[in-house]
Symmetry: D2
Subunit: 414 residues, 4 copies
């Protein structure tokens, strides 16, 4: 997906595209219809694959009618039913029965989010792998630690990388898939229509639930009770995404700073150039990762506003606001995920410059050591490498944690 | 522009599309080249219309290369120069000379914003006109005033509408066009390249400024000194937009509430329906306006973050974040503008229901009157219409202000 | 703590007060000094309780000097050392050795957050208990379900309450205490000073870690490696708080709406009044809970900005921004927590008004039922209670989940 | 006002303190009562100064009762009336007549905001003055311009300062005082109670308006029609504050960067130190200014949410949220204003380091010049000072604008 306003958008693939949204809404209708037949509520004659009924060329018409309807599911169902009536009247009759628009849209959005979660998990696994190697490789590469912009004491580039890694591990929540769930509640979350179709209050409840669970199974989402007015699953998933963007932004900040010519301790593998200033080596990936980290928190505040503004059995406005803002946030997050992996893969480390900075910072950079040594009667150090504290241990602790993460985070093959 | 994630997007027209962004960047290059020739810096042979060199089919390639370059202007200029070399080598040689990517992108973004400003102004004028009529028409339509959800004292629907109108007038800033300005500073905002082309420090400064002013004139934007690292013009324009969305959201809130069946004092002209619940009259436009008002504040906080994160003579990340977030905000704002006009145009007012609520609220709704009357020895009122205070005066004051606004806000014919 | 700007602040107790912050910073110094002695690095003569050295009267002076120092730990340590020098020179010599200001401030902030977490957990447990009873009690209290402001189908107040409860359970994260952790990294997170004091690189690492772990034990916080530049623990804790506020706000929205005189299905136990309008029954608690939900998301976006702006081995600005914004957010969150408990404790339910609304909505409210019944050849229902779907099951499912939560969430006795 | 969570708070003085809020609410009551008497509605015997009736010791009780009432004006009026009844029964009888709580709170908040506006204006004037001198003094101090973190072309420190100045001027809105206005609408914004007191619909409207205008005059605020549900004045004032914070943050970013030891082109006059690292020269003021710029945008998004959530004739929740968040924002803004003035007053400029960086960047930093010179047949430059473009002109343009601002912005002597 090209986007002149957000370079790098091609990395996003078909995450959260209108085409995938349409396809996912149809998948939800298809799964539900199949479940109705499977459970024996709808007749076998109502079975229909549905997936070929509509496609990308229908998007303009559905989108146009979505305003008057309030959401895209209404015109989608109308169009599907119209086309289905020709080839399979029973399917047309049973299509969408028991569902409400929010069921279709929310479950479809969860399919979209699931793919984002899988994509981000895959990027994070690559990042963890790259960072583990980098931390290990540079566990003994000394550099100056900077606090509040000033030189403080010695550290190693390996420990800095371990902190980058730690930031990502902290932000990664392996439980997120538990929250990828269907929304199947009917008009007001009581499942009343499905219960009615399934035989009424006495016998219908169990069968209606069976339909819902079967639908979830077909869609490969969790079944949970209707959550039409409790949006905590979506905000929790989104919050986890923001924390990852924070972690990537934090890495980008270090790369941007350490790529400055006055420091020169890092550089991007393929920096951007300038036609009239051929010496320029702009850290373009880091700049674009940082871009995401600057805007995602504000956009995500909007997600919480939509959650807190839930009311009644379906909110007017708060619900409608979710889809667009999620798509916008997704663009920023997925592109940043991929750009961070790319940045780390080709990151150029310059131990010579790190060593030079550190040497130039002597003896100040060992002043704390002298104070401490004096207190306990030890000798003053001359070599910054003698004042690295527990840095090796701390790197190893982080590598251990990373290994645990890699084990715990299932690889999803699709 | 269809958008399944944001129904109503068709109302947006080509505001902030990639196509228009591309066209605007080309317009900036064309204006600059023309100005270089006009001022006599580039030869007449370098004159070229440029506008036909690239078009929508080039977007994917430019977008793809924009990531490595950091922005879309770099690959655009490369492509234009390559094609120009064939038909007009002198133009190819002079293309973009004196400009930097940020000049092209920022000035183009201002062209995009200008069209948004004009569109919003046009919608606001229509809204003001509709609200003036509605306020005047209902200046004597009594209804209950509600404070903290409870019935308080009588008011009129005309005064409520006057407050809606006042909200829009407050938010409207007739000076915004002053801030629609070119960015023409060269590599670091010193205009050094253009001064060099114009003959160097001694004679070139005046001529370089002439080029910049001529470019602004061609583009119909203001000339101001380079603002590459002061983003107050863009944030001020955006803040004004947020205040308008606040005002529209406030109207939508009242419509949503007063359309509830228990109240029924207002309804939308074309409410949304439901296939299985034919009695439903969903206030879909108000819901979609409210949607915008819920998300725009958070997104706009991100704009301020990009402004405050300016640094150096061009910020890495903060600058890059602006384009995408502006496009996202624009979608919400322009669609809400148009939907608000549509909502007001067809708003159904039910004075009978207003009267019934008010009658049902007697005698409580006149309890304050009794307290006041007693204090000054006046008679208790029986009719809520006798306790409307200065409402007529306040309506007229607002109508006066609205008339002034309509006079002051230039109609732009395009 | 009185606060005219935020009524209800007295409910906050001493959460996040300056006094408690001061006390917590001293506790961190005390725990560290004790650990240094316990591990045998500092002499027994350096043992000192410290806690009586400074107190609330010292706040103005420490606060004043905190600006020049950049944080309050620097003047605090200076003051403590000065006073300690008189009564215990050895303690004065060993005070703060191995620590940096960020260690003291971050660990103290975690103590403050811990008390907030415990307080909120206690409120949530009370809320869960109240909501369980309410859901159970009203499992058969029919009312109309409202979607997009319009009457849809029947539901029960018990199911509405179950959704409120579900919202809180979704937002509650029982793992939060894992993230309550010390920060003990020294000048740049390498623990170098402590390692030096503990005998240098060869023998000192294990002993330095022992000091850190012992300090954590004394403070009753988790030991984790230094997180000076990865702020995911704090943002995750805060995000969980925002989700709770969203859930409380969502309850408040329903209460505000259903307390409207035109609906009258709920009311607060002690609504606010008006001297001249004695009939007013303002839902003041719900209004004040909603107040928090409206502002916390934006404030929390700021927390993510501070996290993403981490850089170097200590960020200039991003770190400094955390303390104040956390204190502001805490005020909103803790007061809303307590007000929600109070609101639920005294909530007045009016089943008669619910029944009347529902009756008045017939036959529309059963139109969906008729469509469904017709499709499967069942009879049309006359009684809304025959169209409640799986509502009882869904209530029970939620009650089960609530019971699990109450079991899993440890009660902290303090 | 000490604040361990926000060092530098002492600079705030009594801006937005609870004490000043209380005093301002009393001032509003006093002005209104005086106006009622002045206009001849209340008897001369009701005249009372009021200001001595309550004071800081009453804050805890008023704050405590404010929750049940929903706002602090209700218990304040009750307390005042109780005390007044003893010494002046007529005044007690007429106190607050015609007003509603929102009138008192909103007008008082405007008094608080006015003092903030005056304070900020005073700081801005000082900043403009300091920046004008600095820009002029360094108009010929060459330094390297940095774009996207890399060295680009030469510029001058004077031009950088001119951009800082331009950022502040852009953000400064001399019209803000127009928006400092009373809110005097009575129970629902109709002024009905006052009209009743003034003689009823026929003769009372003009006299009621006279009371309102007289009150505004006494309070030195503008009179505008009631704005109880249109909050554009407050959000516009706040937006202007955010833009100033953006401008200050942008300056702080440059100071933080250029104070890094690897660059060393700027330093703070009184940097912060470290006991064990005596070489540290932490840019503490810049860090603390940046702190404000990071958090204010998110907090201000909350202000827009409260504005958009207006509804009815008084919003439940949205109105209540304003006071606290405004106080929080004020703390950040006023402290940052004062710290920026202090930072600029003592800023240390190191032209030698600037010159050294520039020299070290040769010949790259002149590569653009060579390309341009070649195009027009001019000689390559050797000296960066020969490639400064229109920088002097641009500085002068900015100084002119600054002079205009200083003339236009009235100095308020208080």
């Amino acid at each position: 997906m090209s986007n002149l306003f957000w370079p790098g958008s091609e990395r996003r693939g078909d995450q959260f595209t209108q085409e995938f949204f349409l396809e996912s809404m149809v998948s939800v209708e298809a799964a539900w219809l199949a479940a109705l037949v499977d459970v024996g509520i709808a007749p076998e004659s109502a079975r229909d694959r549905l997936l070929d009924l509509v496609g990308p060329p229908d998007i303009p018409a559905i989108s146009l009618d979505a305003e008057a309807a309030g959401n895209p599911a209404v015109p989608l169902v109308a169009l599907m039913r119209e086309r289905l009536a020709v080839r399979n009247p029973d399917a047309a009759r049973w299509l969408h029965r028991g569902l409400t628009s929010q069921d279709v849209v929310d479950s479809a959005v969860m399919i979209l989010i699931r793919e984002v979660v899988y994509r981000i998990r895959s990027e994070v696994r690559d990042q963890v792998d790259l960072l583990m190697r980098l931390a290990d490789q540079h566990r003994a590469t000394p550099m100056v630690a900077r606090t509040l912009t000033q030189h403080a004491v010695p550290t190693t580039f390996g420990l800095k990388v371990a902190l980058w890694l730690r930031g990502i591990l902290e932000a990664t929540d392996t439980r997120t898939t538990d929250r990828l769930c269907v929304q199947l509640g009917g008009a007001a979350g009581t499942m009343a229509a499905t219960v009615e179709l399934a035989g009424g209050p006495v016998v219908g409840v169990a069968r209606a639930l069976e339909v819902a669970r079967r639908t979830a199974e077909i869609l490969d989402l969790e079944w949970v009770p209707p959550w039409h007015t409790t949006r905590g699953a979506i905000t929790a998933l989104n919050d986890a995404g923001v924390r990852l963007v924070d972690a990537w932004g934090r890495i980008a900040n270090d790369v941007l700073l350490l790529s400055r010519p006055e420091i020169g301790e890092l550089s991007e593998g393929s920096p951007g150039g300038s036609s009239t200033m051929p010496h320029k080596r702009n850290p373009v990936l880091a700049a674009q990762i940082r871009r995401a980290a600057l805007v995602v928190p504000g956009m995500s505040a909007a997600m919480h506003i939509t959650a807190m503004e839930s009311i009644d059995e379906r909110a007017a406005g708060a619900w409608h606001a979710e889809w667009g803002i999620l798509a916008d946030i997704d663009r920023a997050v997925v592109v940043a995920a991929a750009q961070t992996t790319a940045l780390l893969r080709d990151l150029q480390v310059h131990p010579d410059r790190m060593a030079a900075t550190l040497a130039g910072s002597l003896p100040d950079v060992l002043s704390e050591q002298r104070t401490m040594a004096e207190l306990v009667g030890r000798s003053p150090a001359d070599d910054p490498r003698d004042y690295l504290g527990a840095s090796e241990f701390l790197i190893d602790e982080c590598l251990d944690r990373a290994r645990s993460y890699l084990k715990a985070s299932a690889v999803v093959h699709r």
